[in-house]
Symmetry: C2
Subunit: 119 residues, 2 copies
DNA sequence: CGGGATCCCCCCAGATACTG
DNA sequence: CAGTATCTGGGGGGATCCCG
């Protein structure tokens, strides 16, 4: 289930869950990282930067992000082979600051774990 | 796998993943929400506020959060029956601002989805 | 009271092959 | 090039029972 399908029958759960649902997926966080760095990317271009990700999985993750209105797909059918590209929507852009903070916190967390382990 | 078991062989993945791993779990976000509101809670007390959560799942989620050094368990064995309580660690506290922002963003997101659906 | 152990089912994701 | 279709197994999570 993608975040867009969440209804209010989960009312007892916090809106926080909607945010986590969007990011929930084996490759979504790293895909978003890529699209933050380079605002427009081709399907195969993303695939190359994701070592270990199958085409099937990439398609699934991208389509879920699109369903959730976080990214947008552009298709150029004027030529063969078809070219598609992906970029963040405005909604997706609004998530960037939070993603960056989570990234910074994650770094601090890993450092802290190291210290704990060595003490 | 809990976040604490993540090693640097996932180097190509962003630290963001560590943060998401910590929050990844069916009940973790809502458990953290509870512990943010009420700093000290009993096992059964948490369980009551989580409709649909089994004891098995609560135990699993709590133990993972503890392994990741986000919460701490206190056990009082001086009486029978045993009393346990949980509270956020310092590390867990440091995550609170980000959780709050994700909650706020999630609310905005749900509102935006509503507008999109009605247009 | 606060769990752990076990069994079992279902879904996620990998592998592989096919297509507009 | 950018995906879909199908098959399959492994693990997450529910139900149930047991324990200090």
């Amino acid at each position: 289930m993608v975040a867009a399908e969440m209804s209010t029958r989960h009312g007892e759960r916090c809106p926080l869950d909607s945010t986590l649902k969007i990011l929930d997926g084996k490759w979504k966080s790293i895909i978003l990282c890529r699209l933050m760095q380079q605002k427009e990317m081709r399907y195969s271009e993303i695939l190359q930067t994701l070592s270990g990700c199958t085409r099937r999985m990439l398609s699934l993750q991208l389509s879920q992000l699109e369903t959730d209105h976080i990214i947008k797909k552009e298709i150029d059918t004027s030529f063969v082979p078809i070219k598609t590209s992906y970029h963040l929507t405005e909604l997706g852009q609004s998530l960037v600051p939070i993603i960056k903070e989570m990234d910074i916190w994650g770094q601090m967390y890993l450092d802290t774990l190291c210290k704990i382990k060595n003490s």
